[in-house]
Symmetry: C2
Subunit: 134 residues, 2 copies
């Protein structure tokens, strides 16, 4: 009974982590939302300040801010009429942790490519009289 | 004239990189697609083999494979009736490069949190007679 209960909790935790990753990656799959994060990386800003450089409506920016907020990437503090936004980098660390599982894989590929290029370069040097590339 | 032309090419390159990031992040914003990449990380596989552990139709898996392929994350080789799939980790490296711009930011936050916890621990040790936490 205890095992079943723990297994249930474990499954729910895994599901929850998956749903969080879904929301994080979906949030950063948009160029405007990535640009908003870029602005907030430098300093906190109100929604009006965030919207200024973008050629879209304040309403559109507000929707993008909401998506970032739901993904946990943005913290909003309401002071009177102003909504002050700050970046929350923790979900980006979660995204990075997922990508890390593949780091070894892409690094191996690049190493293999480097070895291939180095070999090609070496054999082409042998083939030419003054070590010049053909 | 030359400057305008170069500026146009530069803008197109930036747009192209943005569109690629959109497709990459959207592709990995789905738990089934992340699970497919997890399978392919270990070994290449046909679509039938990929579909086996999933409780969804072969058609649904085929659509997920197509999304991964469009994002450049999967390479498909057709041999007769079989579609052999391998993972292409290069786009994951691109995603990682985008995230790296925020690494310093999340690491600073964590450092600040560690300092805070260490101080709290120290002050609570001072407050108790035998260095026990309250």
């Amino acid at each position: 009974m205890t095992i079943q209960w723990s297994w249930g909790i474990f499954n729910r935790m895994v599901e929850h982590a998956q749903e969080r990753l879904d929301r994080i990656f979906a949030a950063i799959a948009d160029p405007t939302r990535r640009a908003i994060l870029r602005v907030l990386r430098d300093h906190p800003a109100t929604i009006t300040e965030i919207a200024r450089p973008f050629p879209v409506s304040l309403n559109a920016i507000s929707k993008h801010v909401m998506v970032l907020e739901r993904a946990g990437l943005l913290h909003r503090e309401i002071q009177g009429r102003e909504h002050h936004c700050t970046i929350e980098p923790r979900p980006l660390r979660e995204a990075n942790q997922w990508l890390e599982h593949y780091r070894q894989f892409w690094e191996e590929r690049l190493d293999a490519l480097e070895v291939y290029v180095a070999r090609k370069f070496k054999s082409s040097r042998k083939g030419t009289p003054h070590g010049k590339l053909q």
